[in-house]
Structures are given as structure tokens and as C-alpha cells.
């Protein structure tokens, strides 16, 4: 019997470490001979901390939301008496969150201990590497990836085999393979989960990629904000070296390959290939003109192939199961599965991996169970700062590269932020512009100055100071920035504004002409009033920083609208829901 506690960043943030410590403590105290182990992200973040009890026959019982004070019940009932603590067990509905998925990239996440290479080997780990190095040619590997139809999972969706082939055909003895693990899209966390939950899958994908293009050295560029991922990756690399999967003359052949980690220092633009290379070389991460492409002149001017974590995490599976098995899933031009990070105003948030071509409705309602607090679904943001907002009318859009691009958003790295009626779309656009403006590397004038000007316009609109002509000005700037920027970041930065203007133009007009925020979210445009629910507790009057609330004890209070500064303190403090937004 053993106890496994999920300890990805999400789990740890909900107290999984304390839960695990409590298990160890009680098991020791009660003299039991049971091992407490850890695993990576299971994907059902909303159920964390998650505890799996494996009995001696290998049957798994999953307990959810296990806080330290619930541990003794599981120890006494299950570990000692062999009875399942059914009240703490995962529900049938929650089981469906996982059973409705098709897991390739996340196949081992939450099942194995990422800090033990033996567990990865036990589930067929490094078999693909062995097969490739001992029995395949470089062209055969690339052909297998071509058959699979795998496209880059980092955002652009470029065919992986094409990049590999270009790097392979580039002349030169010294080549590099690089992994972009600088997951910068605010709202996507699949790469973190793979790094934390199954680091060997990435290492394998990079060894195979390195073999295919003829590289003997690989670099993983990881975000500094992911300390746990860096730690587990370092451990995994060390274990792979000890087991002969990294180093000289792998499997007794001429092929040598090793990896190292380079911690990024925080710059969104480093997701762009040429900027990433500049950063690897210790420079400011600024993009340069292409061509030459990295496949021709990349890291230290040598042919370089760059893919992201999720792309590499598919490789070993494709080699073992065949490219056609991967290609059998998905749609005509978007093959295989894709991991999405479901978050925002969704009931069941987490990481999900599904075949390409499901509809947004199937993902949001079928797997995510719809909107929190049963509010109305308004839109879903896909593709992060380079993407856009897809409105409720388009909820039956199929999720693949082609269909999502048609809406004006992009699949991107797979962030899906769900929004309800209380999310203001103008504020969303402002949020993303604030992000992209800060992340400008400064090279292109249109991007550097244009995003700043767009942000100023959006800020004044959300503050109720929008002017006639602002919408047209935003549109003009958006087009100019797209035309006048060198890299993908600048060319896509206006997308959040353009898509919200396309689908929610009325909200912009409401803000500017009627001085109203449709979602009742922009505070400067709100009018707070006190309803008959008021019992006269006087709390709001005490909290009001400008003494705008008047009323007798036990009598209904009134807000003086001339004095009110719309800070919302009264609404926060009211225990009777008596403050209304209008």
C-alpha cells in the first residue's frame, strides 16, 4: 500500500505539502509501514490537494480537497481498516473531468513520481529514444513526425517536421536543439505542468529531435518564475545521465547528446525565436529580421531548432505508437491532441487534453461544467495577448488552428480564459494592452509608442472620459502597429482590441457615449445605491472615505452621489448585500 499526494505548483499552493507531511506524521505515529510519495500535476486543479491511495492489488482510490485535518479520517478508515472513506472520495462527475480527455502530452502527469526515473522507465520511458538511436535514420524520424502531422504547440502552429528537416539540411557540423520553456502567456500553464509532472518526456523529445537534426547539444530555456520546474528538470537530467540516456555514445552508438538549462530572466518577447536566441547568448532579448531563420543561423550562428515543451512532449509517444495513430486524431489540418488551460470564471478549471476539433461548447460545458455561480457565459479569451475574445454566439466553433484563427483569436499556447457577464470587454482589452506595452522590447517605433497611445485611449474610455472618435483612432493605430512591427509579438499585439471591437463594439460605445459599463465592472462609471435590504448597521458609513453615506442607526442609509468617488468600499463592507451597482 502507498499514499501519493499531488504536488505540482497548484497542489502546493492549496496546501498539499502540509497534507503530505500530516500523512507521514500520522503513519509514523501509528506505526504503519506505508510509503508516502509525490506526483506532479493531475490537471484537476479545482480538486487540490489530491491524494491517491494505492492498495496492494494496485487499485487506486482518489481523495480530493484533502486538508491536513482530514488526514486522520483517511488513515484510520482506509490505511488501518481497509475501508474507503467514501465521503472524501472523488465524485463520479469529477471522474468524468479526466475520463472525457485523451491524454498524450499529459500521459504520465499525476501518475508517476517525476523525481524518480525508474517510474518513468517502468511506463515505457526511453524506449522511443532507444528505438530511434539504435534502429532509425534521421530521415525516418522526420518522416514519422511528418506522417503524424504534429504542428508547433507554442503558438504559431508551424509543422514540426518542416523545421526539423530545415535544421537537418542546413550545412554545418555543430547544431543546437533548443526548448522554449519560457511560458509567458498569462493564463497558460501546460508547460509548467509537463516540466513539473513529467520532465523525462521533454528530455526524450529533445534527444530524439537532436538525433533527427544532427545536434549533440540541447538547451532548455525555462522561466525563472518556475522554480519547482527547474528543480525537477535538473534532477531528471542528472538521473538520465546516470542511466546512460544523456552523455557520450548513447546506446553504444556514435551519437552523443547532452542538455543544459538556462533560466530566463523574464521577458515575454523571448518567446520569439530570434529574441530567445539573443537571450541565450546573454544579450537583451530583442528580435531580429528573418531570414536567416534559426534553422540556418541560430544560437552562436549555428543551425538551431526551437520547439516548445508541449511539442517535444508528443514526440516519444509518436515514435512508439506511430505517426499515423497520432494523425488519426483531430481534424484535417490540425492533428492529434492539444492541452488547454481552462481558467477564469469556469466551474471546473484545470488542464485538459483533448483531440483537436472539439467545439468550445463541449470543452466549456462538457468538461468545465459551465460558468461559476451559474452566471451567463459571455466570451472566452484564447491565445493570450496575441489572441482574442470569442463571443457566446460562436460557442459552437471547432477548436483547431483553422477555425479559431477565423474568429480573429488564435489557438496560441492553449490558454482559455472564460468570462461571464460581469467581465468588461473594454477592460479586458485594456488589460492586454497594458501587458503588451510593458513587454515591448523597444525596437519598433509603432509597437513601442503605438501600444502606449492605445493604452491611454483605453484607460480614458474605462474611466468614463472616452471621446467621440476614440474607436476609430484605436482601429487606425491597431492597423499601423500590425504593419509597422518586426516580430510576431508586435504584429499581434492589437488583436485583443480588434476582436473586442469586432464582437463587443456596443460596449465601447456604451462607455464613450452613454458613460455606462455594460458589465458593471468599471468603477468610474458605476452608481452605487443602497436598497431596502439595508438594516442601518452604519458599517458602510464608517468605511466610506469621503463621508458620502448618511443615515440613522437602524434606519436605511443613503449615498450622496455628488460626494461618492465610486471606490466600492461600502459594497465590500456590507454584510446584507444592500448595495447595488447601476
Amino acid at each position: 500500500m502507498k499514499v501519493i499526494v499531488g504536488q505540482g505548483s497548484c497542489g502546493v499552493a492549496t496546501g498539499a505539502k502540509k497534507t503530505a507531511d500530516e500523512f507521514e506524521h500520522q503513519i509514523k505515529e501509528k506505526g504503519l509501514n506505508i510509503f508516502v510519495d509525490k506526483t506532479g500535476c493531475i490537471g484537476t486543479c479545482y480538486l487540490e490537494p489530491i491524494v491517491d491511495v494505492y492498495d496492494d492489488e494496485g487499485k487506486i482510490t482518489r481523495y480530493v480537497r484533502v486538508q491536513p485535518d482530514m488526514v486522520s479520517e483517511i488513515v484510520d478508515k482506509h490505511l488501518i481498516n481497509g475501508e474507503i472513506a467514501t465521503n472524501l472520495e472523488i465524485s463520479e462527475v469529477d471522474k468524468e473531468f479526466i475520463s472525457k480527455q485523451k491524454r498524450i502530452v499529459l500521459r504520465n502527469c499525476g501518475l508517476i513520481n517525476p523525481e524518480k526515473i525508474e517510474e518513468y522507465i517502468a511506463v515505457g520511458g526511453y524506449e522511443a529514444t532507444r528505438k530511434v538511436i539504435t534502429s532509425m535514420t534521421q530521415d525516418e524520424v522526420i518522416e514519422e513526425i511528418k506522417v503524424s502531422g504534429l504542428r508547433g504547440r507554442g503558438g504559431a502552429g508551424f509543422p514540426t517536421w518542416f523545421k526539423w528537416n530545415a535544421a537537418k539540411q542546413s550545412p554545418g557540423k555543430e547544431k543546437y536543439i533548443v526548448c522554449n520553456a519560457d511560458e509567458g502567456d498569462p493564463g497558460a500553464f501546460m508547460d509548467r505542468s509537463v516540466l513539473e509532472g513529467d520532465p523525462h518526456t521533454l528530455i526524450e523529445g529533445m534527444i530524439i529531435g537532436g538525433f533527427a537534426i544532427g545536434a549533440s547539444e540541447g538547451v532548455i530555456y525555462v522561466r525563472a518564475e518556475y522554480p519547482l520546474a527547474i528543480h525537477r528538470l535538473e534532477l531528471a537530467m542528472e538521473q538520465a545521465r546516470k542511466n546512460g540516456f544523456l552523455g557520450k555514445n548513447l546506446f553504444g552508438t556514435d551519437f552523443s547528446f547532452d542538455l543544459r538549462i538556462k533560466a530566463g530572466a523574464g521577458a515575454f518577447v523571448c518567446g520569439e525565436e530570434t529574441a530567445l536566441i539573443a537571450s541565450l547568448e546573454g544579450e537583451r532579448g530583442m528580435p531580429r529580421l528573418k531570414p536567416p531563420f534559426p534553422a540556418q543561423k541560430g544560437y552562436w550562428q549555428k543551425p538551431t531548432n526551437i520547439n516548445n515543451v508541449e511539442t517535444y512532449a508528443n514526440i516519444a509517444w509518436i515514435i512508439l505508437n506511430g505517426g499515423s495513430a497520432f494523425g488519426a486524431m483531430g481534424t484535417e489540418k490540425s492533428k492529434g491532441t492539444k492541452v488547454f488551460a481552462l481558467a477564469g470564471k469556469i466551474k471546473k478549471g484545470g488542464l485538459i487534453e483533448v483531440p483537436m476539433g472539439l467545439s468550445l461548447r463541449e470543452i466549456i460545458y462538457g468538461i468545465g461544467e459551465g460558468i461559476k455561480n451559474d452566471k451567463e457565459f459571455k466570451a472566452v479569451q484564447m491565445g493570450g495577448p496575441s489572441g482574442g475574445c470569442i463571443p457566446v454566439e460562436l460557442i459552437d466553433t471547432l477548436v483547431d488552428y483553422e477555425h479559431i484563427t477565423k474568429t480573429g483569436a488564435i489557438v496560441g499556447s492553449g490558454g482559455m480564459i472564460v468570462m461571464d457577464e460581469s467581465t468588461c470587454m473594454v477592460d479586458m482589452a485594456r488589460y492586454f494592452l497594458d501587458f503588451t506595452r510593458k513587454e515591448s522590447c523597444g525596437k519598433c517605433n509603432y509597437y513601442r509608442i503605438g501600444t502606449k497611445r492605445m493604452l491611454e485611449i483605453l484607460e480614458r474610455i474605462t474611466q468614463g472620459k472616452g471621446k467621440d472618435g476614440d474607436i476609430e483612432l484605436l482601429e487606425e493605430l491597431a492597423i499601423k502597429i500590425k504593419e509597422g512591427s518586426l516580430c510576431g509579438l508586435g504584429q499581434t499585439a492589437p488583436n485583443p482590441v480588434l476582436t473586442t471591437l469586432k464582437y463587443f463594439r456596443n460596449e465601447y460605445e456604451d462607455h464613450i457615449y452613454n458613460k455606462k459599463c455594460t458589465a458593471k465592472s468599471c468603477k468610474a462609471l458605476l452608481k452605487f445605491t443602497i436598497t431596502d435590504k439595508c438594516v442601518g448597521c452604519t458599517l458602510c458609513a464608517k468605511k466610506c472615505p469621503v463621508n458620502a453615506i448618511k443615515g440613522e442607526l437602524k434606519g436605511k442609509h443613503v449615498i450622496d452621489q455628488d460626494l461618492c468617488i465610486q471606490c466600492g468600499k461600502c459594497e465590500e463592507s456590507c454584510k446584507f448585500n444592500a448595495i447595488e451597482r447601476d
Partner: protein, 173 residues
């Protein structure tokens, strides 16, 4: 190495004892492309990058101080000012924004009487807004970092964050 210009704001005091950095420089100074790594290690050691440490690295590596300053100010990870004992990294990712991270920021600012990027007078807390911590399903989220490691807090509310900060402050006093 003392700064000669009396009007200069660089804060250089001419201190030059950076012996802790010697092993790092021995390992990386001659390896091309290692500047960011050296700066990361220096920041780990001293908490921030002072003009003195930048000048020292420039002398030891032969990279111009202006270039080092350029790289250091390009990346959000590097700080040019000292920070408090507890670094609060408040996530401003999309999911956190939608779930009210601005309110959490308000609560932290009220509680600690500092703004984004500032440090409390007693030197205990520094607040930094960060792009995304990757715990989107638990939004709003913050990470509190000390020299001993970091702790992540999810599903924050204004009350919850006040309690967390008060607990830390009690521990410290």
C-alpha cells in the same frame, strides 16, 4: 571604483568586497553568453544588483558596464534596488485579473502602505506585480519569496491576504 561624479544617482559607495562572487566568476566569466547567469547568481547573493556589483562584474569579465546595465534593466527579474525580507509576487495574469487581482493588490497596498515595486519602511515586505505564476485555476494567486524558499497562496480574498500578511508580520516582530 568610487563614483567620481557628485551629482550622480548611481549610489556607488566604492565598496568592492564581492569575494562571494569569485567562484561564480571563475566558473562563468570565460564562458560566452553567461552574462544573464552571472547576474542571476549575483542577485541571489546580494538581493539586488547595485552599481558597485555591476562595475565589479564589468571589471572581471571585460564586458562594458553600460552593456551589463542594459541587459539588467531589460529583464523584469533584475532589481536595481534592495528588497524586503519577504518578496510578494502578486500574479496579474489573465485568470487572476478576471478573478479580481486588482482588489487583492488594493488590500496589500492598504495593509502595507506601499505601492507596486516598493518596500515597507521596516524592510520586511516588497510588493511586485508579476505576469503569471501559472496557477491559473487557483486565481487570484500570489507567491511569497524569502531566501529560504517560496510559498504560493491561491484563491485569495481581501481578508485572506490581510491575514497572511499579519501572520508574517507577527512572526517577524
Amino acid at each position: 571604483m568610487t563614483c567620481q561624479n557628485s551629482n550622480c544617482q548611481c549610489g556607488s559607495k566604492g565598496t568592492s568586497d564581492f569575494s562571494e562572487l569569485t567562484p561564480v566568476l571563475e566558473e562563468y566569466a570565460k564562458v560566452p553568453g553567461s552574462l544573464i547567469t552571472i547576474l542571476q547568481k549575483a542577485q541571489d547573493l546580494y538581493g539586488y544588483l547595485s552599481m558597485d556589483v555591476i562595475n565589479y562584474i564589468a571589471n572581471e569579465t571585460g564586458i562594458k558596464a553600460a552593456k551589463i546595465y542594459g541587459v539588467a534593466t531589460f529583464y523584469t527579474q533584475f532589481r536595481m534596488k534592495p528588497i524586503g525580507k519577504y518578496l510578494i509576487m502578486l500574479c496579474q495574469g489573465t485568470a487572476c485579473h478576471v478573478n479580481g487581482s486588482k482588489m487583492i493588490e488594493e488590500a496589500i497596498c492598504e495593509e502595507l502602505k506601499i505601492k507596486d515595486g516598493e518596500t515597507t519602511e521596516d524592510g520586511i515586505f516588497t510588493l511586485n506585480n508579476v505576469a503569471c505564476l501559472g496557477c491559473c485555476s487557483l486565481a487570484p494567486v500570489m507567491m511569497v519569496k524569502t531566501v529560504n524558499g517560496e510559498e504560493t497562496y491561491g484563491n485569495l480574498t481581501k481578508e485572506a491576504v490581510r491575514i497572511i500578511l499579519k501572520e508574517i508580520r507577527n512572526r517577524e516582530s
